[in-house]
Symmetry: C2
Subunit: 428 residues, 2 copies
């Protein structure tokens, strides 16, 4: 069987499974999720053995220490995966929510309700826990998943998926076994093949570096929901409480710089630049932040960090659109909210941007005009997260404008349909 | 300037205009829409002259009579376009709707509000009224449009767009003139060029025949919302009121067969086939409907239409997935609701499907399991329409599952963003 035939068969089985999934009750699904959690714990020795094979592969591929760490499973990480499944089981049902109702003049009653999307392809890099996380969120929302992790994680991913399925089948014999499938080959051509199958695949969600996501988007014929990168801004307005601004900038940059909702650039209003830049730079120097600063801000930053482990240099054109994932911060001085918004639209990634100000009119303008998935007034950009939004779990963050935008929890893994209830209505 | 540069410039200007559009008040937009309506009426002589040029082109291209009719403008059609604009002006504002609010334990208030999508490319075939309809709905929702009609309608489309813009500018000098743009070339390569510009274009909506829509979807790197075709079903269940079923089938097939929500196939439960098929066939023969019937239904249909102008033949495999847009109906006998659902999933287009039954349990199963944008119980499939749903206007119908599904009115032309209102919250 050629690759295209193999992928077609995989996707066709996923679509058939999605029809069966749509019929499961919430209780049955939650029972399966709890059984899956127990199953993962029980499978710990086997999972560690499969993961050891992957770690060998990773070593032979020359993965970095950080990548090897992401690939590794241990009993704590397996327990955390299981705990994640139990939490998904305890979340409210997302299907069948009534999103709108209308009664038309002819008596036809219309109801808009949330439904599964259908078949979802998830493409991700090494972390094997994504297999359980993504599969469980999709399962809870009645979606069949086709999972494609990194080739270095294939043994772990396959065994995780097999464990989820066998555990679910043990408590629910009619659990559709193709509801969760791992792409069985590491062939790179499997991705374009799968993503050409518009008759079976309804959505693709790539998670990982910008290169992976761009390659997936480029080849896909099915809808893709993603964010390429997070170039997030904090704008310190002239009317900002500077102590608050300092805390927010420090948090947005330093609390966890590797995340997509961490800030990469601070825009400081000229009116407060002289007072704010030194205190900001001094505070960030406690974390050895490296500054890439525009000509106007560079001198006072350089002065403020003298004698610390921080360094500063002139920002170059590329810096403004770079996601560092590290203790590096761009700084620019701007003239008022319009310039700040202009900078964000020019260089930002439409992810998360914040303003710090006591001026409500200016804040409202910023919140209205900045065209990003999440915009904050007097709060850190780090809040763009399913857990922080009370979604209970998150399968990813979207900067797209069609379909889900911002953090994606269970509700964002749903589509909808219209149901019409008539008594014989026909159209005149 | 090469084609790619030209399209990039067009899209870049549209994105800039979309930023300005997002700032216009509802009142300003409605004032512009009414001025556009007046402007179209005032421009009638010029529009007729431009359309006459297009009709010459159409003639030289050998367009059919039906296509020439669709291309033609007259004073009534121009008046109808203007009336459409006035109706859009009178619809409620779709932006800024609060879709969700949450207050988090840390006091952060979150609000999910509707926003423009951004830049929308509309690709359509000859009817020039789409230019005004689509541009007005997109304008009302703060979206910049790039319009690509048929090459035979280029003169009409350009003048309609120019008239809309100049009329709006006359009452609102800061109306962004690139909010509505017509692709200035008939070069076919303009479409893939435009739809590769993911940094500027947010959505493409193709409207027209399946071939056009497949070609657009195939080449696009930006999200596409569409329906390929409408293969809609009416399922007459064993517990159907057969008089009601006859009316619904007659309406779904014959009230306007050229539409995408007209029925192509009737599925009749074996239990009522002997009683229903003859009356259905006799009724449809009053409109000379041609029947493509399965082996089981063909004899009784053939018998019932004897002596009428209807004809019947055995259905072939291709028929079940064909949208006829005409007085042709497929008929199959099925065994219960599960077979009906299976047939619909196998051959349907996920558009609109109806069940006729007095059995609530069966109806609920059909409404839950049939995976289509709109599903009806005891009502005609013909109701899938923005006007019939009370949306006031419709820019199209989607069978996609990511983004809008079913009829698309103003609300469906919106995206959303999250706004966070803090008092200095940072993430611990």
């Amino acid at each position: 069987m050629g690759l295209m035939e193999e992928m077609t068969e995989l996707a066709r089985r996923a679509k058939a499974a999605s029809r069966e999934l749509a019929r499961l009750s919430a209780d049955d699904k939650n029972r399966c999720l709890r059984a899956m959690a127990d199953g993962l714990i029980a499978a710990t020795p086997g999972l560690l053995a499969a993961n050891a094979q992957d770690l060998e592969v990773g070593k032979s591929l020359g993965l970095t220490g950080a990548m090897m760490d992401r690939l590794a499973l241990n009993t704590d990480r397996i327990a955390a995966m299981a705990q994640g499944l139990r939490e998904v089981a305890s979340l409210p049902e997302a299907l069948g929510r009534v999103l709108d109702t209308r009664v038309r003049p002819n008596g036809l009653r219309l109801r808009k309700i949330s439904t599964p999307i259908g078949v979802v392809v998830i493409i991700y890099e090494s972390r094997p826990n994504v297999t359980a996380d993504a599969a469980s969120l999709c399962f809870k929302t009645g979606n069949a998943t086709i999972l494609r992790g990194g080739k270095e994680a294939l043994h772990s991913n396959r065994l995780i998926a097999e464990t989820l399925i066998s555990s679910a089948k043990a408590v629910l014999p009619n659990f559709p076994e193709h509801a969760i499938q791992v792409v069985p080959t590491a062939d790179r051509e499997a991705i374009p093949a799968l993503l050409s199958l518009t008759q079976y695949v309804d959505l693709c969600m790539p998670r990982g570096g910008e290169g992976l996501i761009r390659a997936v988007t480029e080849c896909s014929k099915v809808p893709v929901i993603k964010h390429y990168k997070g170039v997030c801004h904090v704008y310190v307005h002239a009317a900002a409480d500077l102590a608050m601004a300092e805390e927010i900038v420090f948090n947005a940059k330093c609390q966890r710089p590797s995340t997509c909702n961490a800030a990469e650039t601070v825009l400081v209003d000229r009116a407060v630049a002289a007072s704010f830049l030194p205190r900001m730079a001094a505070r960030l120097s406690t974390k050895s932040v490296e500054f890439h600063a525009d000509a106007e801000s560079l001198p006072s930053i350089a002065k403020a960090i003298g004698g610390t482990s921080s360094v500063a240099r002139a920002a170059d054109a590329k810096d403004w659109e770079t996601e560092y994932n590290n203790y590096i911060l761009n700084v620019a001085v701007v003239d008022g909210v319009a310039s700040a918004i202009h900078h964000i639209h020019q260089y930002g990634s439409g992810h998360s941007d914040a303003i710090v100000t006591a001026d409500q009119t200016v804040a409202e303008r910023f919140l209205a005009e900045v065209d990003s998935a999440a915009v904050y007034w007097n709060a850190s950009t780090r809040f763009t997260d399913g857990g922080e939004y009370g979604m209970g779990a998150e399968i990813g963050i979207s900067t797209d404008k069609v379909g889900a935008r911002g953090p994606m929890g269970l509700d964002e893994l749903c589509s909808y349909k219209w149901q019409g209830f008539g008594t014989g209505q026909v159209r005149p």
